[in-house]
Subunit: 246 residues, 2 copies
């Protein structure tokens, strides 16, 4: 039997034998995940195949199945690695709002730095160490703000899904192949600006504004709105008043 993982997707036996591959490289979970992320970032979403990853590692593709049960298992490991990079070096300031916004922006930025990776992994629940640590951090921030366990759980849920949802969306938009991406940006000028004004009066009236706003992510604004809403539910009342950006 070849069962490198148990039901939860976690690998069972810690690696013991470190036999080098034919080309000399010594495989490991970490190396495989790192190489996969590099492959994705450099050559796009379609570049991640077991075979390509194998040759990139200088190993037979089937070797990877000694480390991951299947491709999905590998994707989950990649997702967890990305979460780990996002929360790495996190320094809570003590101000729950700033801290939560920091976590959100770190997540969003990390995913957008590797859009091809994010497309595969942003919408996945990994249940792996880094994700667990992230949950602990998020809950800790909210509880330190004075929220009850129930409130903390609920608000964490809204916060993390908002952040990952935007990450998935924004990543998908910027992970498109070059010509497509350019087209998508320009679409709001070309396609939407040239619609018949009698049939689409609102679009034509807002065409310039649409092109302007669609160039950037709406995540920061949406996150601040969410934080406003959470602050309004603080048991002790919203201490520092809601931010009025722009």
């Amino acid at each position: 039997m070849r069962t490198p993982s148990d039901g939860s997707g976690r690998v069972i036996g810690v690696q013991r034998r470190r036999r080098p591959t034919k080309t000399g490289t010594v495989l490991s979970h970490e190396l495989i995940v790192r190489t996969a992320i590099r492959l994705l970032s450099q050559h796009g979403t379609d570049a991640l195949s077991v075979r390509r990853l194998g040759t990139a590692l200088g190993a037979d593709p089937s070797s990877l199945y000694r480390y991951f049960r299947n491709t999905d298992d590998l994707v989950l490991a990649i997702a967890d690695e990305l979460i780990g990079r996002a929360i790495e070096g996190l320094r809570p300031s003590g101000n729950w709002r700033d801290d939560l916004r920091d976590v959100g922006h770190r997540l969003h930025a990390t995913y957008l730095a590797h859009p091809q990776v994010a497309v595969l992994s942003a919408a996945r629940v990994t249940r792996r160490p880094n994700e667990v640590r992230g949950v602990e951090i998020g809950l800790g921030i909210l509880r330190s703000a004075g929220f009850s366990p129930e409130q903390a759980a609920r608000h964490y849920h809204s916060f993390i899904d908002l952040s990952l949802g935007f990450a998935a969306l924004d990543a998908a938009a910027s992970a498109l192949p070059r010509n497509h991406a350019d087209g998508d940006h320009e679409a709001w000028r070309s396609t939407y600006a040239r619609l018949p004004s009698d049939e689409y009066p609102h679009i034509t009236a807002c065409a310039d504004a649409l092109a302007a706003t669609m160039a950037a992510s709406a995540y920061p604004a949406a996150l601040d709105l969410l934080l406003d809403g959470i602050a309004a539910q603080l048991p002790s009342g919203p201490r520092e008043s809601a931010t009025d950006d722009q």
Copy 2:
């Protein structure tokens, strides 16, 4: 040459010859999209392959390339069809808040009704008719509330990305294979509830609350928060119902 579509992904020549396939069915864009959605909904995300779709239609797989340039083109058509179903029969009440929430809930519900389809299409910008109509509707609602073109565009951006982001996330969660989905729901009880309380004090304190909140989507709550924030920026002040027509 086989170029059924122009650069924007839209099909050029309207179908003229309607030669029945070997098994008698007469192909069309609409039939192909409908069949693809049915295939996805019934047999999961992996069930959508050109070959399977071909046999489901009773046609040779390569016939589909007379209607769609490639699989991605087909996916965009599927996405637009889903948008169309979401905004079908929409009845604006005149209350911008209710209307926008209605659009959001319709989108979210439609995507969640076909999670396997949503996984493929929620994060895609189609630039196709139904999406354009959706943009027009959303902008119209916001402008009727009294927002300027700039504000309407910005708020529409936040609104639609929030909605589609949650749709993508929630769809991905419920599109997992049976055993995985159950595991994901149960994960918050099993995995997260059994962590060492000294290392993860907040998770253990919130374990029950986490399991409770994670069972449902956070989208309704997040959407209401967003609408609150938008209402607060109304030019005439956040009035309860800003009903007026243009």
